[in-house]
């Protein structure tokens, strides 16, 4: 699966998308779900929680293992995708559609510190070797 060009990426394999209202939507990448395998459990941060960039804030668990999810930028959680509680497998089906939570960023310019699709592809390739 190709890496969407309209998203930004963290080294810990989250994607972030700037929405038209200024909020930022966060999920985990296709590569991350592929490494983890079939998802069986998602624990999202609670709405209202303030997160620092790189803060451990959610957990995804596959049949194989639990994995922490980190906030790609600083901000306040304004929404969490409750559908993932009953259908965590939607992350396997389409990791870029199955968003996890939405942030009101402290500073939207923080997104610039993340990788673009090209840089993330190169990062994934380098990790594979």
């Amino acid at each position: 699966m190709s890496i969407p060009a309209n998203l930004k990426y963290a080294k810990s394999h989250e994607w972030a998308r700037l929405e038209s209202d200024g909020s930022v939507t966060v999920g985990i990448t296709h590569h991350a779900q592929d490494l983890l395998g079939d998802m069986v459990f998602v624990e999202n941060p609670t709405v209202g929680r303030k997160l620092a960039a790189g803060e451990e804030c959610a957990v995804v668990e596959s049949v194989k293992a639990a994995s922490d999810v980190y906030s790609p930028i600083a901000g306040e959680v304004i929404a969490a995708n409750a559908d993932l509680e009953s259908s965590p497998e939607s992350i396997n089906q389409d990791a870029y559609a199955a968003w996890m939570f939405r942030l009101k960023p402290d500073n939207a310019a923080d997104l610039d510190s993340l990788m673009d699709a090209g840089a993330y592809q190169a990062f994934v390739d380098s990790e594979a070797h």
Binding site: G37, D38, V40, F41, E43, V59, E61, V63, A66, E89
Partner: protein, 359 residues
Amino acid sequence: MLKQTPLNQRHHEANAKLVDFSGWEMPIHYGSQIEEHHVVRADAGMFDVSHMLPVDLKGEGARGFLRTLVANNVDKLQSTGKALYTCMLHEGGGVVDDLIVYFLNESWFRLVVNAGCADKDMAWLETQRDRLAPGLQIIPRRDLAMIAVQGPKAADKLWQAMPGTRELAAPLKPFNAVVVGDMFVARTGYTGEDGFEIMLPAKAAPFFWQALVEAGVKPCGLGARDTLRLEAGMNLYGQDMDERSTPLESGLAWTVDLKSERDFIGKDALLRLPLDKQLVGLKLLDRGVLRNHQPVFTAAGVGEITSGTFSPTIHASIALARVPAGVNLGDTVEVEIRDKRLKAVVVKYPFVRNGKALV
């Protein structure tokens, strides 16, 4: 350099995700572990288990040797092809390995041992042989591949793939095996479903595997094998028991014969040691996933999860846990998962048998 089974090429061709399992390059899944799990519960799947080691004991005194070597009583094996699940203990009562013993005739027994224990088992077997039955031959069979075909449709699909096996293998009752030409077909498995474990010459394995694929048997990885065996309430060596635990505190009392006069290695220790721990089944009541080594808080003290997973059949998390004696079926306990204490109930296992959830 990882060791490869005779089916390694097949796994690569099928785009399996391969991992290091006890020094062997083995498929963890071929796309979706959960799909593979369901296939075995509802239809038929197969596993390459060629990393496990068949060991033939040949010569006089094989039965006498096994009487002393293993905790279960090989005198239960009286008809040709009969199989027995047992632990092999050290003097302290800890489990060296768990294995299946097949009886072929008085001068031929076959053991199948775990991949991760194979080297240590061979050394142990040879040491005990030198002491107890010097004339006995102990022959590791790395020339054999082993394929487990499992599921309610395993038998039908096996006959379709290998019509020549049907006449002799169809009448097999569970835990019985038969030699068919150069194949050894056992009605055994590690999934809680009907099925067969087939040992055959390594060279023939890729062809046989392909015939099974064409008969509609889905290749399944060791990931699904693990969730299937845990649902079936079957122990995994190295997790649910090892050299530091006895079979009695590992839910395996049913495999230990303490009634007969027979002496076996580890028996004294089993009779002497206090039985203050037990293995129980847990079902998580809260949302989350039980995992190995999570602490379990009970009214009788703290225990630990030995195998935990999400059960695809039950749609809840289940586990085996070693907890203090005094914990009872139906008790509610707490499991610590990432700083939170979640509620679980102590249940009878197996959790699933023949496709049906029992808890």
